[in-house]
Symmetry: C2
C-alpha cells in the first residue's frame, strides 16, 4: 500500500505519534513501528519527531532502537491540558497562545463572536496583562498561569461579584489539591501566601441592566516566578508558588486541578449553592482582622468583619459602625 503523502505534515498524525510515544513511555519505539502504525513514510515519522522536539518534547532517537519520549514540556498545550481533564463545562474549549496582549481581551472577543460558555484561553505570556482598575499585571513567559474563562450565567449585573469569590475559592482549592499549599483569600479578588500576593482575579462583564450577556473571569497566578524576576515595584509584596515551596511547580497538573475545581464550584454555584461556597470562602479569607481600606481616596484602618450574600465586604469602623463596601482597596496589616 502506498504511503500517504498529503498526511505527512498533518497535525492530527503528529498527535497520534505523540500518543504512541506516551503510551510506550520509557521504551524505544522504532521508526518502522511508527511508520506502520500511522501509515506514513519513515521520512514523515522523522519530521513529526522533529516537530515535537521543537514543541519542547524531549525525545531521544537512537539508530536501530528508535525514538523514546523522555519528558513532556511544562507548557499549557491543549493536548496536555485536555488529557484526562474530564470537566463538564470549564475547558470544554481551550485555546492556547504563546503570547497575547491579555487573555481577558481574547475571551471578550470570542464572546462577542458567540463563543459558548466554558471556553478557556491560556497564554504563556501576557504583554498587556491587566489587574483591577486598569492596573497592569506582571505576566512573564512560562512563569505563571495566565488564563481566562468565559461564563454565561443567568445573573443580574449586581450578582456578578459573587463569581469573583467563587473563582477565588476554586483557585485556592485547585492549588491545595496540586501542591498541598493553603492559600488565603483577600476580598474581593486576591490570593495570598505568607502575607504576599500570589494571584488575582479580574472579572469583567458585558450586560444590560437585568441580564448579563457574558462574564470573563481572568486568573493570574505566580507559579514559577523567580525572586530575581520581580520588577522592583513587586519585590517583597508578591510571591510565587516556587518561592513558597522551594521547588519548581509543574503548571500543567496545576492548571488542570484549578479547572476541575472551577468546574465543580461553578456547577454548585449554578445549582444555588452560593451560601455554602461563600462559607468555604470565608474559612480561607482574611476576616475578623484589621485592614487598611481605601474608599473614595481616603485610607483608614478598619476591621474586615465578613462578606455578605451579595459578595459585599462588611467593615467595622473605629467608632464601631458597620458598613457595607461595594468597591475598595483592602490592604493587609502585617503585625
Amino acid at each position: 500500500m502506498a504511503k500517504k503523502v498529503h498526511g505527512e505534515e498533518s497535525p492530527s498524525i503528529r498527535e497520534e505519534v505523540l500518543r504512541l510515544l506516551k503510551k510506550e513511555k520509557g521504551r524505544f519505539v522504532s521508526g518502522e513501528e511508527i511508520s506502520a502504525a500511522m501509515d506514513i513514510s519513515r521520512t514523515a515519522v522523522w519530521k513529526h519527531i522533529q516537530a515535537l522536539r521543537e514543541e519542547g518534547y524531549d525525545i531521544i532517537s537512537l539508530p536501530r532502537q528508535g525514538h523514546r519520549l523522555l519528558a513532556v514540556p511544562d507548557r499549557l498545550y491543549p493536548r496536555e491540558i485536555k488529557e484526562g481533564l474530564a470537566t463538564a463545562v470549564i475547558g470544554r474549549h481551550y485555546h492556547y497562545y504563546p503570547v497575547v496582549d491579555s487573555t481577558n481581551t481574547v475571551v471578550r472577543k470570542l464572546a462577542a463572536e458567540g463563543e459558548e460558555e466554558g471556553t478557556v484561553v491560556a497564554a504563556e505570556e501576557q504583554t498587556g496583562g491587566r489587574g483591577r482598575l486598569g492596573r497592569s499585571w506582571f505576566s512573564p513567559p512560562g512563569s505563571g498561569l495566565w488564563f481566562s474563562l468565559l461564563l454565561r450565567p443567568a445573573l443580574l449585573p449586581r450578582e456578578v461579584p459573587r463569581l469573583t469569590l467563587v473563582a477565588g475559592l476554586a483557585t485556592a482549592k485547585g492549588i491545595a489539591k496540586a501542591t498541598g499549599l493553603e492559600v488565603r483569600l483577600k476580598w474581593p479578588n486576591d490570593l495570598y501566601l505568607n502575607g504576599r500576593k500570589l494571584g488575582g482575579i479580574l472579572t469583567e462583564m458585558e450586560a444590560e441592566l437585568d441580564r448579563v450577556h457574558f462574564v470573563v473571569v481572568g486568573i493570574g497566578l505566580n507559579v514559577n516566578v523567580g525572586e530575581e524576576e520581580w520588577p522592583p515595584s513587586l519585590r517583597g509584596t508578591a510571591i510565587s508558588l516556587r518561592e513558597a515551596c522551594g521547588r519548581e511547580i509543574p503548571r500543567v497538573p496545576l492548571l488542570q486541578a484549578i479547572l476541575r475545581e472551577l468546574d465543580d464550584c461553578y456547577r454548585r454555584f449554578l445549582a444555588g449553592e452560593f451560601p455554602a461556597l461563600l462559607q468555604e470562602w470565608r474559612q480561607r479569607a482574611y476576616l475578623g482582622c484589621p485592614v487598611f481600606i481605601t474608599l473614595g481616596g481616603e485610607k483608614r484602618r478598619v476591621e474586615a468583619v465578613d462578606v455578605d450574600e451579595e459578595g459585599l465586604l462588611l467593615i467595622r469602623k473605629e467608632d464601631g459602625e458597620i458598613s457595607r463596601v461595594v468597591a475598595g482597596d483592602v490592604e493587609l496589616i502585617q503585625e
Copy 2:
C-alpha cells in the same frame, strides 16, 4: 481664474452650496451666483444640486431664475442634526446610517475601538433592533428615532441603572419641548402615552466589578409610525407621536431637543444631582398605582410605590409588605 475641476464632486463644496441655498431660502439663487461664490463650474453646480435632490432636498430649478430650496428632508443627516445643536458632550460626534443592525451594537463596536464619550449613532432603520432581555424592537425606516449614545461615567456597575432613569427623563423632556406632549415613564425603561408604549431604553454596559468601562444607552421612539404599520403583536399596545397628535412630527428638531435634554441631564447627573433628577422622574412616572409585576416567572398584582436612590423599584404586595425590585417586568393595569 480657472474653475476648480477636482473640487467638483467634493462633499464639502456640496455643504457650501446647501448652506447658500438655506441662507437664501425662499428666493432663487442663480447658477452663476453659486458658481462664482464656490469658484466652481456651472456644470459642477448642477451636479451638486442633483446630488442634494437625491438626498431628499426639494430644490426647484428654473431657467434664468436659478435654484431655490423649498424643503429640507426629515432625515437624520449629520448636517441637519448638528446645525444649531450646541450640546457640550452628547452628540459631539454623530454617526448616521440609513440602515443598521442595531445602533447599540454599532456604538459598542465604536466603544471597543476607543471612541470617546458623547458619541451618538442614529439610523433611519434597524434590522435587528433590540429591546430588553433580547426582545426585538420594531424599527421601521424613517418612522422613528432609533439612536444610541456612548457614555463613560465613573460609576460602579450597580449604579448604572440610574442612567436608564436619567435617559428616560431626558427623552420625556425633549419630547415635551419639541411637541408639547407629556409622556409618562414606566419603571425601569419605558415611555408611555395614553397608556400605550411610545418608546424604550436599552442600557448596556461593559464593566469590571468596580469600574464601568462604558455604557451604551439606546433609545427607540415611535415617531411617525402609522396605525397600519404596526405588526399584529404591537397593535393596540404601541403608539407613535403621530398617532397621539394626529400629525406628522418632524424628527430632526425632535432628536435635537432630546439630545439637548440628554446633554443637560447627563451633566447634572455627573455633578451629583441624581436626587433632583430622580424627583423629576417620579413626577412623570407611574407610581402609587397598581401594576402587574412578573418576578421569577410569577405574575402578581402589586402597588408600584416608589423608586429608590439606586434606581430600584419599591413595591407593596397585597399583604402590605414592601420589597425592592432589581429587575422585573411591570405591566400597567388599565382600569
